[in-house]
Amino acid sequence: MNAIYGLYPDPDSAQRAFNVLERAESELGFSNADIAVLSGEPYEEYRFGQRDNVTRMPWIAALGGLVGGLSGWGFVAFTQKSYPMISGGMPLVTKWPNGIITYELTMLGAILTTLFTLLITARIPDWRGRKLYDPAISNGKILIGVINPPEAARGEIGSRLRGAGAEVVKEFGK
């Protein structure tokens, strides 16, 4: 993988660069999916920070909670039936106490599902190979660039990134 990118000091200039690249897609021969954005903090107010922001995570968490709750109830009720032990005059399958365990496992199901959904959809952990990155990102810079740009368009992309306000334009993987 190779890339050409610019580092921007603030979200406004990063947004300018993002707009420039979007407008130049067909002219310079790359697609929108090739535009790379990396930052040290989320910028959800800006359009470049809103990419891939559609997720069903809340629904998946709710489903995880439902599965956790049903498993909890089933587990406890099954246990009570398979080892019938009356205590304190309570029924064999005790709704109120079982409700507590069901509740806890509902929440545990939702929590674990959220965790796994995050890991899977954010594609972490990922330690494989060299990925586009620049340590300057953690100093507040925003990286906007193009992955695998057409060879002939490299110079033009670089100059447009500079024109949008990049502090520095770099190449990656060449």
Partner: protein, 451 residues
């Protein structure tokens, strides 16, 4: 002049790269106390539970007091952090990680006490649901099994809540580290790069976690209260115990958080990040909880006194004018009479020293409260021939002291491995456009000021 991202990184990562001799000296003292506690526990395991002060009729004492106390302290973090996150309180940003770490450590310490109290800790797995050789499963109708599920759910949730927002900060350390440290942080940052997708999923996950963890935290201390409330013991069998315990837990949790933050601020030189306004805001919450605590104590005693049940009244009088009254009135002083006026006066509350002066007695007072819930009731059950007393042994005292040292030690180690303030959230607070009506106060709270 405002701080640049580079300066913030440098300030907040300093404790990870540099440790003073004070750090090692403090760690050595705390390690010695923890070692003493483990020795005492080993002594108890070898000679049997009889070396503790536990005896008929007081079979729950220091260990269960500590269990309830540390569960309460654990409410400092996840609950406070989650509530502030759900409310989008911008001033939370420098506070949340300090608080969440308290939760994880306090819960881990609390979880040890049932094992210590067992006397034969190698049989702890009897608590875990599994089919034994005799086909006997745990008794799901027992509140102790509810504890197992609630505490483990809360612990898993709290660890997740603490760890999720650390990935970007670990990536930040990875970018600056070298040698073994770079390798370790490369692994624990999970290959975090900061794509919009990663940020969006992380923020979404944190929002869901914040909503999920609040009812779990409330349920945990409610279920701990049901360990008592389900028993027909004078002073315990009360419907108010659930909210009473939860309010007390949040109360002690905030006090512990204020003390921890003040220590961190001083030891790690975080004066520009943990500012008086953070202590002032937490002080307001503490004042509310102090008043609420007093209300619950009054309501609990009023109904017992009005009911005039002989069994309940023997416990009541033992705490008001009898053997336990010095502890009871010390508790009232520590939890209400000392802190409430300090926290009610704005000119005192907005000074860090005074909020700490108000918080330390609360920690002591809340420990006494847990003690006073357990011991007087077990000493004065319904049948007078069964009245008894309790005196802690050196084993219990050593283990108790050791757990406080253990909390301090875990926190010290944590501050050497994790940035104690969430760096990316702090920076986000500085750049994010907040709602106009809260912007001025939050900007003042979030904006570090430097030279």
């Amino acid at each position: 002049m405002n701080k640049t991202p580079e300066q913030i990184n440098k300030d907040l990562l300093r404790p990870i790269y540099h440790a003073t001799w004070r750090f090692y000296a403090t760690a050595a003292v705390l390690t010695a106390l923890v070692a003493a506690a483990f020795f005492a526990w080993g002594y108890q395991i070898y000679y049997g539970i009889g070396v503790s002060g536990l005896n008929r009729p007081v079979f729950w004492a220091f260990y269960i007091t500590n269990f309830v106390f540390w569960i309460g302290i654990s409410h400092a973090g996840t609950l406070i952090s989650a509530i502030l996150r759900v409310c989008n309180a911008g001033w939370r940003r420098p506070v949340t990680r300090c608080a969440e770490a308290i939760t994880v450590f306090a819960l881990s310490i609390a979880g040890m006490f049932p094992l210590i109290h067992l006397g034969r800790p190698w049989l702890f797995f009897w608590l875990i649901p599994y089919p034994s050789e005799r086909g006997i499963w745990p008794q799901f109708r027992s509140p102790l099994i509810w504890d197992f599920f609630a505490i483990n759910t809360y612990l898993i949730g709290s660890v997740t809540f603490l760890v999720l927002p650390t990935f970007p900060d670990f990536a930040l350390i990875r970018d600056r580290a070298s040698g073994w440290r770079k390798m370790v942080y490369r692994i624990v940052s999970l290959g975090w790069r900061g794509t919009p997708k990663q940020w969006h999923r992380l923020e979404m996950a944190m929002r869901i976690m914040a909503v999920a963890i609040i009812p779990v935290a409330v349920s945990v201390h409610t279920i701990v209260s049901w360990d008592f409330g389900m028993a027909l013991v004078p002073g315990w069998h009360s419907t108010i115990f659930g909210p009473y315990f939860v309010a007390g837990a949040i109360f002690s949790g905030i006090a512990a958080l204020i003390v921890a933050m003040a220590l961190l601020r001083k030891l790690l030189h975080l004066e520009e990040y943990l500012k008086p306004i953070h202590f002032d805001n937490l002080g307001k919450l503490l004042l509310v909880m102090s008043l609420l605590w007093f209300y619950f104590v009054f309501a609990e005693r009023l109904t017992i006194w009005y009911g005039n049940n002989p069994g309940e009244m023997s416990v009541f009088w033992s705490t008001q004018v009898g053997r336990f009254s010095p502890l009871f009135w010390t508790m009232v002083f520590c939890n209400f009479i000392i802190p409430a006026p300090i926290l009610a006066i704005k000119n005192l509350r907005n000074k860090i020293g005074w909020t700490v002066v108000a918080s330390i007695p609360i920690i002591v007072g809340m420990w006494l409260e847990r003690f006073l819930i357990i011991i007087p009731s077990l000493s004065h059950k319904y049948l007078p021939y069964n009245f008894g007393s309790y005196r802690p042994s050196w084993v219990e005292i050593t283990i108790t002291v050791g757990t406080f040292a253990g909390m301090g030690l875990l926190y010290l180690i944590f501050s050497r491995v994790f940035p104690i303030i969430s760096i990316w959230e702090l920076k986000l607070g500085m750049t994010k456009v907040e709602a106009p009506e809260v912007a001025s106060q939050e900007a003042a709270a979030e904006q570090p000021q430097g030279g």
